[in-house]
């Protein structure tokens, strides 16, 4: 299977290519430079293997949650690329991707993913490894105040890993929230972990096998936060009402 994955959801920008399970990746810490980098990363990876975009089976992208503009950059690139190359698209959660990275690097089997969502909120996901080592959500990804994050049964044999910058911004509140449920403690060493495209790949390959793909048109961001504007009160008309 040949899959290309991209992520521009946060401060890092990355692309990763999997050819029958052999993975190569380009990653740069590059706030606000995603548009300058992402296509040449994709191009580099394919050239290094002597492949064209049209040789791929599918294109995967981290669809969110994350920086709104960053999510749209990945979605726009996925749309343009998939439309032109007539590829199916797979959108993967950034919170799942982060948990999968925790699995790859630290052997975690249980991860609490949290990104700082600003405005006093976090993007939150609870992930547990299945028997193939793929991180599966125990609750739906959500955005909420750290004191109100959704919970799930958390007892068990292995420790929980706390991953993502939500744990840097709201460590105390989050620990108070989940602490009483844990009997193996919390590993806080992954607060600076960021999404990497290589961790999209195993989840995307699984989705592809299950036929969970969409067309380029449906390659859309998953923002989670949808209250982004409020209707202003109607301004007072000058003098007596006009109508």
């Amino acid at each position: 299977m040949r899959l290309l994955a991209i992520d521009t959801s946060g401060s890092a920008c990355s692309a990763a290519l999997s050819i029958d399970g052999v993975i190569s990746q380009r990653l740069e810490h590059a706030p606000r430079r995603h548009g300058e980098l992402i296509l040449s990363m994709m191009d580099d990876l394919l050239r290094a293997q002597g492949l064209a975009v049209t040789d791929l089976d599918a294109l995967a992208f981290a669809h969110g949650p994350g920086s709104f503009t960053g999510l749209r950059i990945a979605a726009a690139v996925a749309q343009g690329t998939a439309f032109a190359a007539e590829l199916p698209v797979i959108g993967i959660s950034t919170l799942a991707t982060l948990a999968q990275g925790c699995r790859r690097e630290r052997g975690a089997s249980r991860v609490l993913s949290a990104f700082d969502a600003r405005m006093g909120e976090v993007y939150w996901g609870i992930y547990v490894a299945d028997d193939q080592g793929l991180m599966r959500p125990m609750v739906d990804d959500s955005v909420c105040a750290p004191e109100a994050v959704p919970l799930a049964p958390m007892s068990g044999e292995t420790p929980w890993f706390a991953a993502g910058d939500g744990w840097r911004a709201h460590a105390d509140v989050l620990q108070r929230r989940v602490g009483p449920l844990l009997d193996q403690g919390l590993d806080l060493a992954d607060a600076d972990r960021v999404c990497e495209s290589q961790d999209i790949l195993p989840l995307a390959e699984d989705a592809f096998r299950r036929g969970q793909v969409v067309s380029a048109y449906a390659a859309l961001p998953v923002y989670l936060r949808n209250r982004v504007a409020s209707v202003p009160p109607r301004s007072e008309p000058p003098g007596p009402p006009l109508r």
Binding site: G35, V53, R72, A76, T81, Y217, L220, V228, R243
Partner: protein, 341 residues
């Protein structure tokens, strides 16, 4: 040469195909006016979210309209600025990626250059050199145009753009968003002789504009007149008429000054406000009196659209200009910094 044009700088998603032999062969625009109406203005985040949903369906529509297969497109142009960063990045990201896969050149186009060259899509087309008045919700600029890419800013608004003044004044008159065209409609019923509003900055030399004082003047005039009179509806129409006359007159005075100073016989009107009927009539008359001629595109090419981006992009691609495998948005981008063609 066939060039795909993509426009997403503000609240219109535009896609078009320009063919250098056949002219415009397909175009589609989706306006977000209804989306923003409840907020009384463009909400940048909502605009960006809408572009990413609408762009590919419009692209498909344009390809079908033109009967063109993707592989028959020779280059891609997208608006790179000025405008809303998040909105611009959608068009840039999609456009640059299409060109990458198709292995065709891509170019980021200056939105105002698109407007400025749009009249060249019409028959008869103006010839260089000319003076252009760019009037929209975001800009009021007088530009000397020697050739494609050779622009010199002669003057611009020091505060509100003319279109912005129209929209804000429409709000004062309690007209629905976006108020500019509504104000013009109301003004049709107004008595041009009843009020005379000031023509800002016409009593001194120079080619700059200012419209924010006129907006305040209109607000005060409306308050006083509504308090003093019974004929509310007629007063509103008369005030709208006086405001429109003042804006149009001011633009005409400055344009006359510019064509005289530059000694050119051609004036080009572009941008959303150039769809205003009274402005067009007055400019045509003024240029006839000057022994020259005024040009403007059809209304669909005055407001934001993909056709003008495809056309401006074609000019640059045909001259061998294109961009590396990267894209970015330039929210502020002085037009006189553009490369000549």
């Amino acid at each position: 040469m066939r060039v795909l044009g993509i426009e997403t700088s503000c609240d219109e998603t535009g896609v078009a195909l320009y063919d250098s032999d056949r002219g415009l062969i397909g175009q589609a625009v989706y306006s977000q006016i209804e989306l923003h109406a409840a907020y009384g203005g463009v909400v940048p985040e909502l605009a960006s979210r809408d572009h990413v949903r609408k762009l590919l369906p419009l692209l498909q529509e344009v390809l079908e309209q033109a009967g063109v297969r993707p592989r028959e497109i020779d280059g891609v142009a997208y608006t790179a600025g000025p405008g809303l960063v998040g909105a611009l990045l959608v068009g840039a990201g999609v456009g640059r990626s299409l060109a990458w896969v198709w292995q065709k050149p891509a170019v980021g186009v200056h939105h105002m250059e698109g407007h400025l060259l749009a009249p060249l899509l019409e028959e008869p087309a103006p010839s260089f050199p000319f003076v252009a008045l760019l009037v929209s919700g975001g800009h009021t600029q007088l530009v000397e145009v020697e050739a494609v890419g050779r622009y010199r800013l002669l003057g611009e608004s020091v505060d509100d753009a003319a279109g912005e003044a129209f929209d804000k004044t429409a709000k004062i008159l309690d007209l629905p968003y976006p108020g500019g065209p509504e104000l013009a409609r109301l003004a049709e019923r107004g008595d041009p002789g009843r009020y005379r509003f000031p023509r800002p900055m016409t009593d001194r030399p120079g080619l700059d504009f200012s419209f924010s004082g006129l907006k305040t003047y209109t607000l005060n005039a409306l308050r006083e007149e509504l308090a003093a009179r019974d004929d509310r509806e007629q007063t509103r129409a008369d005030v709208a008429r006086a405001f429109e006359e003042a804006v149009v007159d001011t633009l005409v005075i400055k344009c006359r000054r510019a064509v005289r100073e530059m000694r050119v016989g051609t004036l080009v009107l572009a941008g959303g406000v150039s769809a205003n009927r009274r402005l067009r009539e007055r400019m045509e008359r003024m240029m006839r009196d000057e022994g020259g001629r005024a040009y403007y595109p059809r209304p669909a090419l005055c407001t934001d659209n993909g056709a003008m981006i495809a056309f401006a992009g074609y000019q640059r691609l045909a001259a061998g200009q294109h961009e590396p495998l990267a894209f970015s948005a330039r929210p502020r981008w002085p037009m006189d910094s553009l490369a000549a063609v």
